[in-house]
Symmetry: C2
Subunit: 218 residues, 2 copies
């Protein structure tokens, strides 16, 4: 097995890339076995490095859990910025932003089911993650309000709209399996189109995403 | 504190009511403190009974977790039956069924965040719960297919439609707090209306649920 999962491509970014490789691998292992069922040893084995090498980047399992959450929040932040930059209306900003968030979450980071288990976070680190999450939710609510104001989104409670979207999106980590029938991009297109159609002031008459057309299921 | 949380009203149903009282209390305690942070002692204290009395109904924590999941699946089953009976189109059946499921989940059972943490289930009991959950998902997919056939639901992949709805609904256990601004019924009305609007072949021009109108947020 390649050391560091082949993530190291560039000398200058080595440190950061190694840290990201650890986070990605850890997120996947913890997602599969649960927080209490996996160890740092498992992560080291998967990355093909010694545990001592691993300890240069993370001190313990809690450190790693915190890093997974932090990484997810960084992805969320970048995604919403992309939406705000490239979308015209509030609804478009949300579609672009949430699509990018979902696609990167399940594509790049693996499938971080741990996002659903924040109970394992403790003390200051828990507070820090809750703070980042609150900021993300507030930003999403503000985009919904913007969409109501510019008539792209049907009048609604922005808080409830944000919760609905976040539920639909985060639940994907419960059922999506990489390497199955659907790619991360296909799922992101189809799910965000469906979940945001209910928000639209003038919903499109049909769904355009590929998954909704080539399905043979049901 | 009242013994058994005042749930005992009738001699004949005593056994079952006590069991339900235990499950409700346990679901709430585990939801607040996490699966690993709470004990059977905590449940006994909350119910005002001895641990020995509790052991007549549940053998251990795993037993209780299983009972919580089983209860949620019974609620889901009853709710979908209600929808199938009382709804005309596929879309109406889903709206009535999922509204009843959500409302009873967060109203009667408490807020069972444990539903999101099935990693703690083990062996045969895990298989049993997965089986019940699969049956529930299949039933929901079939209702979506029925709605596509009767033209109440826009053509889509029924699997993805079911995942979207289940995500929006189960996520409520993450953010809803009983005794806050919104009652279980208000939240259920508003969330199900919003989440199913995206499924409708002809979405209503606006949202009717009270929460979407009296909000001052955003």
């Amino acid at each position: 097995m390649a050391r560091w999962g082949n993530a190291v491509q560039d000398r200058e970014e080595q440190q950061e890339l190694k840290r990201k490789a650890i986070i990605r691998e850890a997120a996947q292992i913890f997602s599969r076995r649960g927080w209490h069922g996996a160890t740092l040893d498992d992560v080291a084995v998967r990355l093909g490095v010694t545990k001592a090498a691993l300890y240069r980047y993370v001190r313990n399992k809690n450190d790693l859990l915190f890093a997974c959450h932090e990484e997810a929040m960084e992805i969320a932040d970048r995604a919403l910025s992309e939406g705000e930059r490239n979308g015209g209306t509030g609804l478009e900003k949300i579609r672009i932003g949430m699509r990018a968030y979902l696609s990167e979450m399940i594509g790049e980071l693996g499938v971080p089911a741990l996002i659903l288990e924040e109970n394992s976070l403790q003390g200051d680190e828990a507070e820090q993650i809750y703070g980042l999450r609150d900021a993300f939710e507030t930003r999403l609510r503000n985009l919904i309000s913007m969409g109501i104001d510019d008539d792209s989104i049907v009048p609604m409670d922005p808080k409830l709209g944000a919760f609905m979207l976040l539920g639909a999106v985060h639940w994907v980590t419960k059922w999506y399996r990489p390497g199955g029938d659907w790619t991360a991009d296909e799922v992101s297109d189809a799910l965000i189109e469906l979940a945001t159609r209910g928000l639209a002031a003038e919903p499109a008459p049909g769904l355009a995403a590929a998954i909704h057309h080539y399905s043979t299921d049901g």
